[in-house]
């Protein structure tokens, strides 16, 4: 049995209390949400924290998916499982269910949260790619108040985000635009494994023409910009296989993978392209089938 180093445990029952504890306990304190990234690291003694502040009681206030006008708001404590099962997300952003089906396993999904996922900022983490694809923004709260940052500003690099030590991510906001759909695809070596490479695509159309499109990649280097060259290429064009192939070429060339046990950099580069092509095609197929949301458009 792997056992963590000695630590103190605190339980926060309100967001303000969590922030207060973070301020008081200082740099050796860390929030624990689902615990599926933090606790394994503690057991392997890869972290040197002294206090954990359990925010699972905040699920009541931060566990939600709210559809508003032009925007969907997801509370940071919303669990993978809730994202997977949400009919609202399925209707608006099928990319979530696509991704959640291949994130970890049911045990992890029952506890892991979207907030924990984004804050962990693992380079292979899938929800950052999803949120990038959807042009989401993040609500961060500290004792001085709240600020809203784009994914590009939120994600500072591997394991690094805009959330300061004494701040908490409370909400993810995703703009809803008409006639859009999305898709996600991942290649893994085994069910439950982290991505070798994954790609998400979101497309918005006006009749036969693409109005806007975004692509987000995971596990192939920092890609939190939605790959503007791809967006620029696709805007105003009619979707064709040739166009997807061009987008794929851009995805392959703009990513910066490294060789590891999951695969060679060359292969990951190839996958970035291949999965970009597939998810763009899938998103368009969904729009054309009139099923932004449910899984009927899946091939």
């Amino acid at each position: 049995m792997q056992v963590p180093a000695p630590l103190e445990y605190q339980r926060a029952t309100t967001v303000d209390e969590a922030i207060d504890l973070l301020e008081r306990l200082g740099s050796e304190a860390r929030l624990v949400a689902g615990g599926h990234s933090l606790i394994p690291m503690m057991k392997l003694r890869l972290t040197d924290l002294e206090y954990v502040i359990d925010i699972n009681d905040l699920h009541d206030v931060l566990g939600y998916i709210r559809v508003g006008v032009g925007e969907v708001r997801i509370g940071a404590m919303t669990r993978h499982r809730e994202l997977l099962d949400s009919p609202e997300l399925a209707a608006l952003f099928p990319i979530f269910a696509d991704a959640e089906r291949v994130i970890a396993d049911p045990v992890v999904r029952n506890r892991g949260t979207i907030g924990g996922s984004l804050c962990q900022a693992d380079p292979s983490e899938d929800l950052t790619a999803v949120c990038t694809t959807l042009d989401a923004s993040c609500v961060i709260r500290g004792s001085a108040g709240e600020r809203v940052v784009s994914m590009e500003d939120f994600h500072r690099g591997p394991y690094e985000t805009a959330v300061a030590q004494d701040e908490i991510l409370t909400e993810i906001r995703i703009p809803v635009r008409p006639s859009g759909s999305s898709a996600y695809a991942k290649v893994e070596r085994r069910a439950g494994d982290w991505a070798v490479t994954s790609a998400g695509a979101a497309v918005w159309m006006d009749g036969p023409t693409i109005v806007d499109a975004r692509v987000g990649l995971a596990a192939v280097g920092p890609n939190t910009t939605g790959i503007p060259e791809i967006s620029a290429l696709l805007r105003g064009r009619a979707p064709t296989e040739e166009l997807y192939a061009e987008a794929a070429t851009i995805a392959s060339s703009t990513c910066s993978p490294t060789t590891d046990n999951r695969g060679t950099a060359e292969y990951k580069r190839h996958l970035a392209g291949e999965l970009t092509r597939r998810t763009l095609r899938q998103a368009v197929t969904r729009i054309e089938a009139g099923v932004a949301g449910d899984m009927k458009g899946q091939s």
Partner: protein, 802 residues
């Protein structure tokens, strides 16, 4: 007494409708007697043992693969308020316990004294009041290492400038471990020289790990007054372990009791003696308290016995019509830092000699060079019956390479070269005597179940459309049940197994076996073996295993040896008891023994079925009042030690169908058809379970499992997120069938099945993947066939994993 399962020689299994909840008095389907406790979470594993005053031990391991130990400062750890002792290699050296023998007669450091030789090697241990404190105190030990260049690349281990790892061995100037050869080199060379076709391929079987769900551990309890040491431990071979502890420690053997409680999977991982066990014993001796050591997952993956790690140059010679003439191979074997291979002494490469496969050859030759590297030691019988997995993988891959070059159907090529039924017993060119086989019958059943011709048609259509579908066949012959005393021993201990059977007065029974279940269902199977012979219901027969004070001597469970050796012992001891029962029955029925007829469960007077006595009545009589026939002692029990005259040779035909996504190179195993022949089938449900597990294991090795190292010798497979084990999602619905070809020399004709599927499945999967890649001109690609590595092959550069 041989009863064929379902009475049919070649059968497709229908597991959906099979009724497993039967109550045979003997062989047949029945639920496992041990399962009520396992599925209720009521098993007792080593880590469940709690003793009064028990302390906890944790091991400090080397963070680097090769380094001189400059100094170790334990003072801060000793000052931890809950720490009772901190022991280093130097402390053990004072007691002469710093080194211990391995199962291959090498030595291994219990705690490093001079150098560390692999990352994860044991350097010191802490004993504390609880496991948390023990673990915390490890961080207070300060070790200064002088890092040396490691030997990681096995191909460079013998380079003249390679650093010498085993400086502990007198005069050792290189990393050479041993050379070994088998077969006739000159004869093989001659056949190769005149062959029409010779195919050469380098085939790597990467290092993998048994990765049992339960890691290794021990609780040692030394009782100072009586001088008695009790060791609860994760051991697949409790008797062999006890003898070795006695020889090494000097404690008298009768004062050592080794108990293996329930074991959560072994796969060979629990055959060796690990430094941790010895540390627990030493700690208990030093502190006079019970001491528990249970390793964590990383420790298990990084430091305990690995499997495989063979680089094989395969060569196969044939006529252009496809008659295979000879196989030749040179193997470079990576044995890690210490040679800890679990294999009989005369077989340093295990049973790799069966690399001639299921084919009738004119010649065969293998030479092997084994080397030391800065990696964990091992080379276990990991569900591989002593390296047969490597051997079968080599020959089945080479036959497919030959089929590729000859442009022949791999089924036809195999069929043409099979050893024929009338050739058994068949002596191979490397000297193995295959006991019995009817290979075509198994192959035909597999092809019929698979719909082979239809699959090939489908493949042709798909290929025309650019889709990638592959069909892979493997045919294997296993050699299990080590083994005859004249040939086989481990560290001087003969590989015969004892067995004791006692019938209680009321006709219930206890059978004590020397082998040790790790989940294979021995409590059920052995009760059924005895039941079949003596006519007492399996429910009324208790099987005792895993306690040296409660069971007769024997060498334990690995290499599929339980049924071939201990199973034979159980059948024979039951027959011995039955012989005695017959004499008592003759007295009870007042007839001569020759006038008695045995009908499962009772003796009857021939021609007078009304006059009979049951085994239960005989048991009561044996223990009861009144005279027994002249010269017969009371009681109804017997004991034997069974020395097998030969190994047994199970076989099977496996066929795998894969699809590969041409865009991502992801392999999906769509179908897997497995026909096994393990001779007489005792409990078909248990056999099927063993086969399912082994097939899953094979898919894992073929597609994802590998213990790899970085250039510093750091193990990259230290967690189950890095060392991937297959899940239900990676494997198809298994389609199984069987044929029955009993072993002629085993008392009930059974051959053993624990490892068949692990041996047979990897080549089937790899052959299927390579077949799917045929349009790319790929003849061979090495495991693990991860998407990235398959994609490499599709780009025309299949790459060895090491």
């Amino acid at each position: 007494m041989t009863t064929l399962d379902e009475g049919v020689a070649a059968t497709t299994e229908d597991l959906e409708t099979a009724d497993n909840d039967q109550h045979p008095v003997g062989h047949g389907r029945m639920l496992r007697k041990e399962d009520p406790r396992f599925i209720r979470g009521m098993g007792t594993y080593v880590d469940d043992i709690q003793l009064r005053g028990m302390l906890h031990l944790a091991i400090l391991r080397s963070p680097v693969a090769h380094a001189t130990i400059v100094s170790i400062d334990v003072s801060a750890a000793q000052a931890h308020p809950k720490v009772k002792a901190v022991i280093t290699g130097a402390d053990l050296a004072e007691k002469g316990l710093a080194w211990m023998p391995t199962l291959s007669n090498d030595v291994q450091a219990v705690l490093a004294t001079d150098k560390v030789r692999f990352q994860g090697q044991e350097v010191a241990f802490v004993v504390a009041e609880d496991r948390y404190s023990a673990r915390d105190a490890l961080e207070l030990i300060d070790v200064e290492y002088d890092v040396l260049e490691p030997v990681v690349d096995v191909r460079r281990a013998l380079a003249p400038d390679a650093p010498v790892i085993r400086t502990d061995l007198d005069g050792k100037a290189d990393n050479h471990c041993f050379d070994w050869e088998t077969g006739d080199e000159a004869a093989t060379d001659a056949v190769f020289a005149r062959a029409d076709v010779v195919v050469t391929e380098d085939v790597v079987y990467p290092r993998v790990h048994p990765a049992p769900m339960e890691t290794c551990g021990a609780v040692a309890d030394y009782e100072r007054v009586s001088g008695q040491l009790t060791l609860w431990t994760t051991s697949q071979a409790p008797h062999a372990h006890r003898t070795i502890y006695a020889l090494v420690s000097g404690l008298p053997e009768h004062k050592i009791r080794v108990i293996s409680p329930d074991i959560g999977g072994g796969f060979g991982n629990k055959v060796p003696i690990y430094p941790g066990y010895v540390c627990a014993i030493v700690a208990s001796l030093v502190l006079n308290k019970p001491v528990k050591w249970v390793e964590d997952r990383t420790e298990n993956l990084v430091s305990t016995g690995f499997a495989r790690d063979y680089i094989m140059r395969g060569e196969i010679a044939a006529t252009k019509e496809g008659k295979i003439l000879a196989i030749r191979t040179h193997v470079l074997a990576d044995h890690g830092a210490f040679n800890g291979t679990a294999a009989p002494v005369k077989y340093p490469a295990g049973f790799f000699g069966v690399f001639t496969g299921s084919y009738d050859l004119e010649a065969a030759y293998c030479s092997m060079t084994a080397v030391y590297t800065n990696k964990a030691p091992g080379g276990v019988a990991y569900a591989c019956s002593f390296r047969i997995t490597e051997a079968v993988y080599l020959v089945e891959r080479m036959v497919d390479c030959l089929a590729y070059d000859l442009e022949m159907d791999p089924v036809a090529l195999r069929r043409r070269n099979f050893i024929q039924p009338e050739q058994f017993p068949y002596t191979t060119k490397t000297g193995w005597v295959y006991d019995s086989g009817e290979y075509e019958r198994a192959l035909d059943l597999t092809l019929e179940m698979a719909g082979y011709d239809e699959l090939r048609r489908e493949q042709a259509e798909k290929r025309a459309r650019g889709e990638l579908m592959g069909i892979g066949l493997s045919f294997f012959t296993e050699a299990v049940g080590a083994g005859p005393r004249k040939d086989m021993d481990i560290l001087g201990l003969g590989m015969a197994d004892g067995c004791e059977l006692r019938i209680h007065p009321t006709g219930k029974a206890v059978v004590r076996v020397s082998c040790m279940s790790q989940g294979q269902g021995h409590e059920t199977t052995f009760a059924q073996i005895v039941a079949e012979e003596i006519g007492i219901s399996p429910d009324d027969i208790q099987v005792v295993n895993g306690d040296t004070d409660q069971t007769p001597f024997g060498l334990g469970t690995y290499g599929s040896r339980s049924i071939p050796v201990s199973g034979a012992a159980a059948a024979l001891v039951a027959r011995k008891v039955r012989d005695k029962a017959r004499i008592i029955a003759s007295g009870m029925l007042e007839v001569s023994v020759v006038d008695l007829e045995w009908q499962k469960g009772s003796f009857m007077v021939k021609g007078d079925p009304g006059r009979s006595v049951t085994i239960q009545e005989i048991a009561m009589r044996a223990h009861g009042a009144g005279d027994l026939p002249q010269g017969v002692e009371g009681g109804l029990e017997a004991q034997i030690c069974y020395n097998p005259e030969n190994l047994t040779y199970p076989f099977g035909a496996y066929l795998c169908v894969v699809d590969i996504d041409p865009g991502t190179a992801v392999v999906t195993v769509r179908r897997f058809i497995a026909v096994d022949d393990c001779g007489t089938r005792i409990n078909p449900m248990i056999i099927e379970g063993q086969v399912h597990g082994g097939l899953t294991d094979g898919v894992g090795m073929a597609l994802m499992e590998m213990i790899s190292f970085d250039e510093n010798g750091t193990c990259l497979g230290g967690s189950l997120m890095d060392y991937l084990l297959p899940t239900a999602l990676e494997v198809p619905h298994w389609e199984t069938g069987h044929t029955v070809t009993p072993s002629p020399h085993h008392p009930i004709g059974a051959k053993g099945v624990g490892e068949s599927a692990t041996v047979g499945s990897p080549p089937a999967v790899v052959n299927a993947v390579v077949d799917a890649l045929k349009p790319f001109g790929v003849r061979h690609a090495d495991m693990p066939l991860t998407p990235s590595r398959v994609w490499d092959a599709m780009q025309g550069h299949p790459t060895p994993p090491i």
